[in-house]
């Protein structure tokens, strides 16, 4: 746990530092954050493997209803986004 927290803490700081000092634009800053968070997930994955727990212990389970709700939510975002971007002053 301490190993993981040290990594998460360091990455959180590093992310702020890079975003302020290195990233030339907001988009690049976001991409840097994405890479750093992928790294955190890799550490979680490695620690689960190291402890012989397996990835299934992370607890990613979804029911049929949950899958339906997720799909509906994802498909629902599109018209909402279009509604905002074509009218109401969206860009």
């Amino acid at each position: 746990v301490l190993q993981l927290y040290a990594v998460v803490f360091a990455i959180a700081w590093f992310s702020q530092l890079l975003t302020w000092e290195v990233a030339p634009s907001a988009n690049v800053g976001l991409l840097i954050t994405a890479v750093l968070y992928a790294l955190i997930f890799l550490v979680v994955f490695m620690l689960l493997r190291q402890g012989s727990e397996g990835f299934s212990n992370l607890g990613l389970r979804i029911s049929g209803l949950g899958t339906f709700i997720l799909l509906a939510a994802v498909l629902g975002i599109r018209p909402i986004y279009l509604g905002n971007s074509t009218g109401g002053g969206g860009r």
């Binding site: 803490f9 994405a34 968070y37 979680v44 990613l60 389970r61 029911s63 905002n84 969206g90």
Partner: protein
């Protein structure tokens, strides 16, 4: 808020692609990864050693600490940054106090709620991850309904906080209901 009183999400000063990238990274990816680290790994490990309540408090505290952005606050005190943002030192001071208070209260509450969801859903990571993602999307939407510096530094404090909390309560109730439906029987 438009002249007629309707709330308009105009993405503020952000191009739409930046806003969508924010949603993808800051809401979806960050929400999922933080939940996998803090609930899926840390809280579960702590619970095995110290019991559920202590694990919940400890994981939520650690979760809150990483959200206090000391370096960002430090940079905001730089006069050049303040000039670029078009804000005064007094406004920055007020904004930092607001942001720290908001982090301590809102992020602790988020950690405790998602930790409890994880426990109640029989250690299923998806309900807390979904709640965390939608909580972050709410934050991004609230921040982008107007010019972001207006929200952070101007009149928007109260409205921003109110709308965000309202969003969190509504989404929390929905995820809570979905958790009860979707969790495996133990």
């Amino acid at each position: 808020v438009a002249a007629g009183g309707n709330l308009v999400f105009n993405f503020g000063a952000l191009p739409v692609e930046t806003f969508l990238l924010q949603v993808l990274v800051m809401a979806l990816l960050v929400g999922f990864v933080e939940e996998s680290a803090f609930r899926g790994f840390m809280q579960r490990k702590f619970a095995a050693s110290y019991g559920f309540v202590r694990a919940l408090i400890l994981a939520s505290f650690l979760f809150m600490i990483i959200h206090i952005q000391f370096y960002t606050y430090y940079k905001l005190t730089d006069p050049a940054v303040q000039a670029a943002l078009g804000v005064t030192a007094a406004e920055v001071s007020m904004a930092i106090q607001f942001l720290v208070t908001q982090t301590v209260i809102a992020i602790s509450a988020l950690g405790i709620f998602t930790g409890y969801l994880y426990f109640k859903s029989n250690q299923n990571l998806l309900p807390p991850a979904l709640f965390h993602m939608t909580f972050n999307i709410g934050g991004l939407l609230m921040a982008s309904y107007s010019n972001s510096s207006e929200v952070a530094f101007g009149f928007g404090y109260g409205l921003f906080a109110f709308l965000w909390v309202l969003w969190a309560i509504i989404v929390g109730a929905l995820v809570w209901a979905a958790t009860k439906i979707g969790s495996p029987r133990s």
